[in-house]
Subunit: 438 residues, 2 copies
């Protein structure tokens, strides 16, 4: 999946991430905190050695801390297990791991009480005694820990090893990402965290994005760069295929900036047609910028609303998004978007002609300056030999004239095909707005 | 986040999951394999002790295997690092960990060659010598390992410890989920895997879903169940808040079936109004079933196409999905769905009245039997004191008469609000189709 070139460096300050929660370990929900924390630590120049997920059993949590503790890490960040229930034991286990006694912090107890008061009025019928007991439990923290004020109801902690002990400083954060993320920013500001990561490397990060070539071609290009004498050994290069695009992420110390610049030029010269982002900007950001002052409308079939949803994902999208029609049936294509039923009868609903008619109908119905039409076979049924599952037709047109119309066979299952079709469309929109036309 | 009651059991056969890949460790992409494999292992009666994510460095991989090897696990499943590039070293590192020499398997080399042939014609200009070298590398495997035929281009492996050695059997799988998942099914069938998990516990799994109460209420109910004398110590109960719903997952051995049945009845009696699924079925599955023979159309504003996308997510949705309009602007609401501009001027675009007009316009325009209207403020801008960010109005109407119209203030950021609004709508549709009406 990835190609790390010949980089063998290692940051001086290393960290581990420990995610707790039976619901994460057993696959009921996917962990979002590990990847998020990993990026944040790397941005601080701290190398993440591992992300480990364990259940809610205190023994498993303590074993995991023990295993990670042996790796000479400066910091361990935990997420989860700070809730009010009896099995939310992270604070206590971390206290034991760091050799610190648990004490009740009365100020904290009062602050949590204030947070819970409005919740108790919102959900009448909740037992107040149970709430008070939970409140008190959450205010019992390791002595000497720095307390991070709750974002939800649970406080976070920064817990250095007890005096005279060796070992990592543990940052204890709650599980819900919307609580963890703001609390992380507070944790980073604390003196305790600052001391723990003293001496961290300064990292820069460069991201390039390509669309329309297989991942193996980038591996070949990296080999060619090496062969052409470019210096790659101070660059940590990771390539990754995501939503049909190739993302090349490089981390390097400031002294290797010129090596990175040379690599960027080398890739740009070999992949001029497919390198669409030299600065890490996403295709969604680029389309937003390119649309400036124009409006866009969508008439989509197989993507079922995902194209409109993608165009309205970003805040402020009402400035350029005129509207959309999800025209699954032939009747809807005719009645809502004005596609000629005779055309559908002649060439079939999944055809470049109908994609064009959808795009031009979208322009007309929503009085938009750009129109998008998508029609295809998302599967798993409905494919034929000529138009198999994954066959999708795309058209992006400008009211002022000009447009790009394409068909492609997209890989994967129904969800992949629907998602990938929106990516192809975003790239067609960007090309059209940059002046390309059939 | 979770409440594991008082269950302290442990399966006899335990496993660990080791996910490799710098792109996963550094947060560039989220791991989907760990949670998926964890569920599969639990279904086989194998308890997962940890999921660990490490980078592509062979040293890190070997250390992680070493750490996990000390925990007395029967099985370790790895994902990733089987690609054709030089840093894809999982097979070799696992060979070393299991004490087995690496040997070239010529049959496998030939099979991979056959798989690569059509790819080479699809991407002309790729260097054939480089392809052959990659091909050969992927055919070098630990001696005595069971080979799992490639789904993409990389073979998988089941590698028991070398004769006379103790330790886990390692199942080596590729990183891309669409290769890993079918290959897992093959791995489970092998004799080597069967011997490794001999003696696994038989687990049953029960899932209940509730909508419309806070998670803490379920924690209270579990305490009440314990207090009422229900036997919970053979049930492993995990509660989790997902997309606004509470999911209660319980694992138990067949001998505890009656305890689970009693718990289900206890929860059903206390939460009759909010327990919508006793059998684990999702609201999406229920809505699909309830729509049988009817058609549904959507006119949505703040959800921007996500409601239509959710209703078309499942295969076969064209049987009931009539179509959708994404009416962001007031003009689109009037022109495409027939909402009276005077009404919008009088009560505002975000109002229960406009939600009703959208739902009834959707019925009319798409000739549907059920219409959905959604209008709200997804933010981050556009909120007022009276109608803050997160305020959303919903209406679901039947052509035949009857309907449910509601407003709610949804928590979280733009993405959460958009997603949560679709969940609220799905529940309103289900209630309407079950006969509720204002």
């Amino acid at each position: 999946m990835s190609d790390a070139a010949v980089y063998t460096g290692r940051a001086k300050v290393r960290a581990g991430i420990l995610v707790t929660g039976t619901e994460v370990l057993t696959g009921i929900i996917s962990d979002r905190n590990g990847p998020w924390l990993s990026e944040r630590l790397l941005d601080l120049g701290v190398d993440v050695e591992m992300i480990e997920i364990v259940g809610d059993r205190p023994g498993d949590l303590l074993s995991a801390l023990g295993r990670m503790g042996e790796e000479g890490l400066a910091v361990i960040v935990t997420s989860g297990g700070l809730g009010p229930t009896a099995d939310d034991l992270t604070a206590e286990v971390v206290g034991r791991f760091c050799g610190r006694e648990m004490v009740l912090d009365e100020d904290l107890e009062a602050r949590i009480g204030e947070i819970l008061a409005p919740m108790m009025t919102r959900w009448p019928g909740i037992d107040p005694a149970a709430i008070r007991a939970s409140n008190r439990k959450q205010a019992v923290v390791p002595q000497g820990a720095t307390i991070l004020d709750p974002v939800g109801t649970a406080p976070g902690l920064v817990v250095p090893p007890a005096q005279g002990r060796e070992g990592p400083t543990v940052v204890v954060l709650p599980g819900p990402p919307r609580e963890l993320q703001p609390m992380w920013r507070t944790a980073v500001e604390t003196d305790a965290f600052g001391s723990a990561i003293a001496g961290a490397t300064e990292y820069r990060r460069g991201v390039m994005r390509l669309f329309g070539i297989p991942e193996s071609e980038i591996a070949n290009t990296l080999r060619a760069a090496d062969g052409a004498g470019l210096s790659l050994h101070d660059l940590e290069i990771t390539t990754c295929l995501r939503r049909g695009e190739i993302e090349v992420t490089t981390r390097f110390e400031p002294s290797a900036q010129k090596d990175y610049d040379a690599l960027l030029e080398f890739i740009a010269s070999r992949h001029a047609d497919t390198l669409f982002s030299r600065d890490g900007s996403t295709i969604d950001e680029q389309v937003t910028g390119l649309l400036s002052g124009r409006s866009i409308a969508v008439a989509e079939s197989c993507t079922g609303g995902l194209m409109a949803a993608r165009l309205t994902e970003r805040p402020g999208s009402s400035a350029y998004f005129a509207g959309g029609v999800v025209a699954y049936s032939n009747e809807a294509k005719a009645n809502l978007v004005g596609v000629d039923p005779g055309l559908i009868a002649r060439v079939g609903a999944v055809s470049t002609e109908v994609a064009q008619a959808l795009a031009s109908g979208a322009i007309e119905r929503f009085e938009a300056s750009v129109g998008v039409g998508i029609t295809g076979i998302a599967g798993p049924d409905g494919g034929t030999e000529e138009k198999p599952v994954g066959f999708v037709c795309f058209s992006v047109l400008e009211r002022a004239g000009g447009g790009l119309t394409r068909s492609a066979r997209l890989p994967g299952g129904r969800a992949d095909i629907r998602d990938r079709a929106t990516t192809v469309t975003m790239h067609l929109i960007a090309r059209l707005l940059r002046g390309e036309s059939d």
